[in-house]
């Protein structure tokens, strides 16, 4: 798909990609190694890049103190449902914003951008009051509603970009074939945009998965806590016990990593299938 590259170009490319891979992976390697060292060994000199002895002590300490299964389940439910619903709603709004001209369009796009500029603490107090009145505090459904709202603006803007990259001709052909606009959207556009939609969902999911402040504000009981809240609790009370902190960090990162490993393959599939090519 791209013209041939010179040998020098190839060397530069491979060297750069390899270097970036090392830079990306090293911190993750390091925190994992830190978490697997025997407590106390991380303060020994010389610093060990591959410990003589591995230990799960840091992890055992974590599991004895918290219900990780519960937090994990909560985060999964909240992030999956909010991510899915937000993506679905955003597909509709993004489609309209990409394909139609109307007077309030610029205003709507600006309004979406403004949501990204607001410091959350301004809204936190009134939001808490409102959720209290609605009886949605300490309630997963309430948190999901708020997360959906938080995801929509960026998701809409992102999907709109993808819609705009797909030629109108595709739907037009479908509409000529007798599809309604709605039908054309679902039958023709969405399959073509699958990689973009998956990417949008992943962004939503990851944002919800990592969200801390709203979750701390709106959730109370231990059975409703999400992973970031629980971990923040651990970490901020650990007195920089780097071993336990690293173990806690690894435990939070692993599920999202698994998702990314799975989903990036999916994106790659979608991207390489060539469906989007005009």
């Amino acid at each position: 798909m791209i013209n041939k590259e010179s040998i020098a170009g190839r060397i530069v490319r491979i060297a750069f990609l390899a270097m970036w891979l090392v830079i990306t992976v090293f911190p993750l390697y390091w925190i994992t190694i830190t978490s697997l060292k025997i407590p106390g060994a991380i303060f020994k000199f010389p610093i060990a890049y591959w410990p003589d002895e591995f230990s799960l002590q840091n992890y055992a300490g974590l599991f004895s103190k918290a219900q990780f299964g519960v937090y994990l389940g909560n985060s999964l439910i909240v992030a999956t449902v909010a991510g899915t619903v937000a993506t679905a709603i955003s597909i509709l709004s993004a489609y309209v914003l990409a394909r139609f001209e109307f007077r309030s369009k610029t205003a709507l796009l600006m309004a979406a951008l403004v949501t990204q500029m607001i410091p959350s603490f301004i809204a936190l107090g009134p939001l808490y009051m409102m959720m209290t009145q609605l009886g949605l505090v300490d309630n997963r459904f309430g948190l999901i509603l708020v997360y959906i709202a938080v995801c929509i603006p960026f998701c809409t803007v992102m999907l709109r970009g993808f819609f705009e990259n797909v030629p109108d001709a595709l739907e037009e052909a479908a509409m000529v074939d007798g599809c309604s606009r709605f039908g054309a959207l679902f039958r023709v556009l969405l399959p073509v945009m699958r990689p973009g939609i998956v990417a949008a969902f992943i962004f939503n999911f990851v944002n919800c998965w990592n969200e801390l402040f709203l979750s701390v504000t709106l959730m109370n009981s231990d059975t409703n806590k999400t992973i970031p809240t629980a971990l923040n609790g651990f970490i901020s009370s650990f007195n920089i016990d780097w071993g336990s902190m690293s173990a806690a960090a690894v435990l939070t990162i692993v599920p999202t990593m698994a998702l990314f490993a799975f989903a990036s393959r999916y994106i790659v599939q979608g991207l390489t299938s060539g469906a989007v090519k005009g």
Partner: protein, 430 residues
Amino acid sequence: MRRRKATFALGLATAMALTGCAAGVSDGTVTIHMVESLTNPTRTAVLKTLIAQFEKQNPKIKVDLISPPTDQADQKIQQMLQSGTGIDALEVRDITAGPWSTNGWLYDMSKELQSWSGWKNLTENAIKYSKDAKGRTDYIPYGFYGLSLFYRTDLVAKKGFKNPPASWDDLLTQATAIQDPSNHQYGYAFRGGTNANSNAVAVIEAYVADKIDLDNGFKLTDGRTIFSAPEALNALNTYFKLFKQASPPSSVAWGYPEMVEGFSNGSTAFLLQDPEVIATVGQSQVINKSQWATAPLLTGPSGKAIQPVATAGWGTAASSKHKAETAKLIEFLSQGEASTTFTKENSLVPILQGASEDTFYKTGPWASYLTMTENPSKYITVTQPRSSSWWTEWIQKSDAEVQKVLLGKMTPEELLASWDTYWTEKWKGQ
């Protein structure tokens, strides 16, 4: 596409089902919500066992413990108090009590606790802190914090010192002797980060111990600030020398966790901290129990030290609909076995008379606290203006300025002048 739709529907249905509220119970059982602030997993576990005992004794009362991450806890508590729902019992700290009481968020428990039999067992300090200036009982302290010097017995002995440092000057000498950066060994776990001001103030107070106002640790008996005293400059000169000669350079940014870590991982030999650190250092995997001990708080040139009191306790939200039950819970936590367990497990100075008679408080790292309580004229307890509404503003301002001195962007003289002006003006405006 149909399948996708079905997935959506299923997802939503699951969400609804999972979030369904538990049906209300109406058999006369009352649920009270209790929110903690200085949360940590070990402490939460202790609280849970105590609550279970309480629930056993009071079958009609259920306690729902809410444990937000400590970094966000006070903000969350403020939101709950402001909204007026879902909060009955709460952890009140000496620094939050003032503002929360002013805002009418805390309930004056005097009436409920009038007939409480536990009063007679409280220490003098506990009773004193159970009442504010207006005679209100916003909270009952659960324990007290106070400074002592953690030191490495082995390193001190190796350098030929017979005793741990007693004064700030001794500390400077010993820490400088131990400092050896090429071998990753440092003298003092300097506090340069969050709350850097507290230790800077502690050293100043020790130097002006003879003329300090006992009811306001920032004031001299002549009404001026402690920062205006000439001794204050000597104090700071010693203190900043300690940083330059005997502390790790990175300690410019050290707050509580880094200091504690710096001591328990063996890289520093001295640490000035609260008793709760005893438990943390006790769990160290690098230094063992024979390698460290505590010594009483450091004295100034006059041979006296000033111990600032810090505390926190349990209070009732003004919006609570179950004040009587909440008071019952607080009474339970503030007396007998429950209180002793709580202070021991969290290494706090106890609130109950006679609790310090326990061998636990007489031996090992706690012995220095006993020394201090037995010599009140040498180790003088003072109240700091921690309940001022501008306390957090002060902390942020003074911390930044201590760091400026450490980075060479301000002189100690300028720092003292700035602090003197700050407090003089605040007091004038009162």
